[in-house]
């Protein structure tokens, strides 16, 4: 990499650090005003490039402190990169075990009841870099997650007029994106029919009030709240109802986990199940890793989400997990969408600190110290940790 781009990065980092200290100073005068001050001071225009071809981009965790993640900094993930789509030619085909197959344009879809739904999208590999021993794949750390307001139509409404045959158990999804080599498996997956026809499953064409950007699957993607990102199928072209799960690598080999924890040396023959529901998880947006702050009041804040039910509790520890204090959950709970939390840290003693956050959901699931190892590095939800210093 060139010296120039190095310089630019460090400049951007410096600006972010600077804005953080501005935020920290503002904190002393009272918490409620700070969020906005920090927001304005932040230079929120960069994503972490995990891969440039295809683009796999991670949101810096410091940005995850608002109920909606803006499209411009929403994480990006795909296997083969976006296809070129001529929107006038775009159609959604519906087939398989149905009485008659259908072909729908975007205009046809907009005739169904329009639904707005806030929901958290998390890549199933978010946190893969934290697994030991390390596993192959994009080394996501914390920010392959975001919360957006999705607008679309319910899949169940769209297929209501189509009679699905009784043998159909799964719905396979195909997209306009295609693999670089004919010998490379296509990215196609299926979801169980009950989940496909759940009222929260949407065919979405808008994201945060904008037409769905092409990097995020435009013109049409699946929204499957509570389930990991591999079900939120992008650039949707065709859905088929069928008896069995989709064939192929991305359904039968990838995105599967052992049903129970396995030793990391690996026992290949244990039965595996598809990665589906997000586990309970909280992330610390502030303070940032490595930040140095003066003694005084500081805001510890972040987001928490779960795949089933809603959040009931987020706790913060400032002593490496020996004691935990309850943080305040903001706003109303909404299944499938994240909630912000905040904690007022009265930091009087100078020294290094490990700030930790631990969430509990309405099913009683608690964030573990570390997620059991699995060979694909999926669904990491270990207690989030940030190292910082009061000086």
């Amino acid at each position: 990499m060139s010296g120039l781009s190095n310089e630019l990065w460090s400049r951007r980092r410096f600006l972010r650090r600077l804005s953080q200290s501005v935020g920290a100073l503002a904190l002393v005068s009272g918490i409620p005003a700070i969020g906005r001050a920090a927001e304005m001071a932040h230079d929120r225009s960069s994503l972490i490039v995990r891969l440039s071809r295809p683009q796999d981009l991670e949101t810096p965790v410091e940005y995850l402190d608002s109920s909606i993640t803006p499209n411009s900094v929403f994480f990006v993930r795909s296997h083969f990169g976006p296809p070129a789509i001529i929107e006038e030619q775009w159609k959604l085909e519906i087939g398989g075990l149905v009485d008659s197959s259908r072909s729908l344009t975007l205009e046809d879809l907009r005739k169904f009841e329009i639904v707005d739904l806030p929901a958290t999208l998390q890549c199933s590999g978010n946190g893969r870099a934290f697994f030991h021993p390390s596993v192959p794949g994009v080394q996501w750390q914390r920010g392959a997650v975001g919360n957006a307001l999705w607008r679309g139509v319910r899949l169940r409404d769209v297929v209501k007029s189509i009679s699905i045959k009784s043998g159909a158990r799964h719905m396979q999804m195909r997209g306009y994106d295609s693999a670089p080599m004919p010998t490379t498996p296509s990215f196609t997956r299926s979801i169980p029919i009950e989940r496909a026809l759940d009222p929260s499953t949407l065919l979405a064409f808008e994201m945060n009030g904008e037409p769905l950007p092409v990097l995020h699957g435009g013109p049409l993607r699946m929204v499957v709240p509570g389930w990991a990102g591999d079900h939120w199928y992008k650039w949707l072209r065709r859905i088929d109802f069928q008896e069995h799960e989709a064939e192929g690598f991305y359904m039968q080999t990838a995105y599967r986990m052992p049903r129970q924890p396995v030793p990391s040396k690996g026992i290949a023959s244990l039965p595996e199940v598809p990665v589906t529901v997000n586990p309970v998880k909280s992330l610390i947006a502030h303070p940032s890793e490595g930040s140095v702050m003066p003694p005084g009041d500081h805001l510890v804040s972040g987001v928490a989400f779960t795949g089933v039910g809603h959040m009931v509790n987020v706790e913060v520890s400032l002593d490496g997990g020996c004691s935990w204090d309850r943080a305040e959950l903001e706003g109303k709970e909404s299944e499938g969408a994240w909630q912000l939390w905040r904690y007022r840290w009265r930091a009087s003693t100078k020294g290094p600190y490990i700030v930790a956050a631990r969430a509990t959901d309405s099913s009683g699931r608690v964030q573990p110290q570390a997620t059991p190892w699995n060979h694909g590095g999926y669904l990491w939800n270990g207690i989030d940790l940030v190292h910082c210093e009061i000086a």
């Binding site: 995990r50 411009s72 990169g81 192959p136 693999a179």
Partner: protein, 388 residues
């Protein structure tokens, strides 16, 4: 290097309106080029000792096989055991990476040593999000764009199908169907004309209008078509307009590498040149019968003596047309590094080793350098005279 490129570009621009009067300044430029390459060579020799030949070979393998689909960051961010790397490389070979079986071990060794378990994780760069999302947005075609898909189909068959597959769904080069680059003509032109990674430059093979035709044809292909639908037909109406096309990057996949050819220059030659020029440099490679011209043998030592190192370097870098030969051979300057091109030059000279001294100015200065320099100047002067 930048200076050399500028001069070479100037040379190419000057060549367009070549006339007897322009021979003299052109000749002067050749001497400047020669001087620059000599200067560069001495710097290069110092830097080059640091990296072992084996590492350079493996690095070239990574470039040729992994970076067709991945950027280097995909490899650099992994921290894997040799067994995990082995599994990944096997998986990718099954998925279409054109890695010859006998190169698998050296690539696995290289990846295991470069990106091992326990190494400090790579720091990921940051980029402005706007720039990144913009890179896939369709752009309006430039003014005057007028591609003819029917013509493009024939061009595709001759120039691209060899690597990208007859139906453009990828072979050794990646799938082109419904790719955003097709709607960003300037980016498309940049890649095709200058080459990228293992793809050679086509600036001496295709012109701007032909690029428009190509794009027009590629845009007609859709992922919804069954594979094979829209396949470019072998019959091509435009063939006559193209002097020589079926040259696109050869790959190591078709070349039987033996132990003697395991070092970097041989690997490079066999992977990049041998399909046309032949393993022994006689111009009798498997693709040669399809070319509409006879290739000179590298072991025709009288001919090779006439060719200066600067000329050979220019041909390798910018293609045959850049040195005044019939267009056809693409340039490798955008895809091979300076040291790789020099290594190729050296290797090609080796076919006449012992008969023409077998040395060249890029490798090491010789005691009898003066005599050979005279020979080279003579060849340049002769070449200029013939052109004039």
């Amino acid at each position: 290097m930048a200076a050399l490129i500028r001069i070479v570009r100037g040379e190419r621009a000057a060549r367009k309106d070549r006339s007897p009067q322009s021979a003299l300044p052109s000749l002067r430029k050749w001497f400047v080029i020669l001087g620059c390459t000599l200067l560069l060579n001495s710097t290069h020799a110092l830097a080059g000792t640091a990296r072992s030949v084996a590492q350079r070979t493996a690095s070239a393998e990574m470039r040729a096989n992994c970076e067709i689909c991945h950027d280097r960051g995909m490899l650099a961010q992994q921290r894997l055991t040799p067994a995990q790397w082995q599994a990944e490389v096997e998986k990718m070979r099954n998925w279409g990476a054109p890695l010859p079986p006998d190169q698998e071990k050296s690539l696995v060794d290289y990846l295991s040593s470069q990106f091992p378990v326990g190494a400090v994780p790579m720091a990921a760069p940051e980029s402005p999000s706007v720039t990144l999302s913009d890179s896939v947005k369709p752009l309006a075609d430039p003014a005057g764009f007028h591609g003819d898909a029917r013509v493009g189909q024939g061009l595709y068959t001759d120039a691209c199908a060899e690597c990208h597959g007859a139906d453009a769904r990828g072979k050794q080069g990646p799938n082109l169907v419904q790719q955003p680059i097709l709607y960003r003509f300037n980016d498309f032109q940049e890649i095709v004309m200058r080459g990228r990674r293992t793809m050679p430059a086509y600036s001496s093979v295709l012109d701007r209008k032909q690029l428009e035709d190509l794009v027009a044809w590629l845009r007609t292909l859709q992922v919804t078509q069954a594979s094979g639908v829209g396949r470019a037909e072998a019959h091509c109406t435009l063939v006559a307009a193209l002097p020589l096309l079926r040259l696109a990057a050869a790959t190591t996949a078709d070349v039987d590498l033996d132990a003697a050819h395991s070092l970097a220059p041989q690997t490079l030659y066999l992977s990049q040149c041998a399909r046309c020029h032949g393993r022994s440099g006689h111009g009798d490679g498997p693709e040669a019968p399809q070319l509409r011209m006879q290739l000179h043998s590298f072991s025709d030592c009288g001919w090779m003596l006439m060719m200066s190192d600067a000329t050979l370097f220019l041909i390798i870098k910018d293609g045959a047309a850049a040195a005044g030969f019939p267009a056809g051979m693409p340039g490798f300057g955008g895809t091979l590094g300076y040291d790789q091109m020099v290594a190729l030059l050296h290797y090609v000279r080796g076919f006449c080793a012992g008969q023409t001294n077998g040395q060249n100015v890029f490798a090491k200065p010789e005691p009898n350098r003066r005599r050979r320099w005279c020979g080279m100047f003579g060849a340049i002067a002769l070449g200029e005279l013939m052109r004039a």
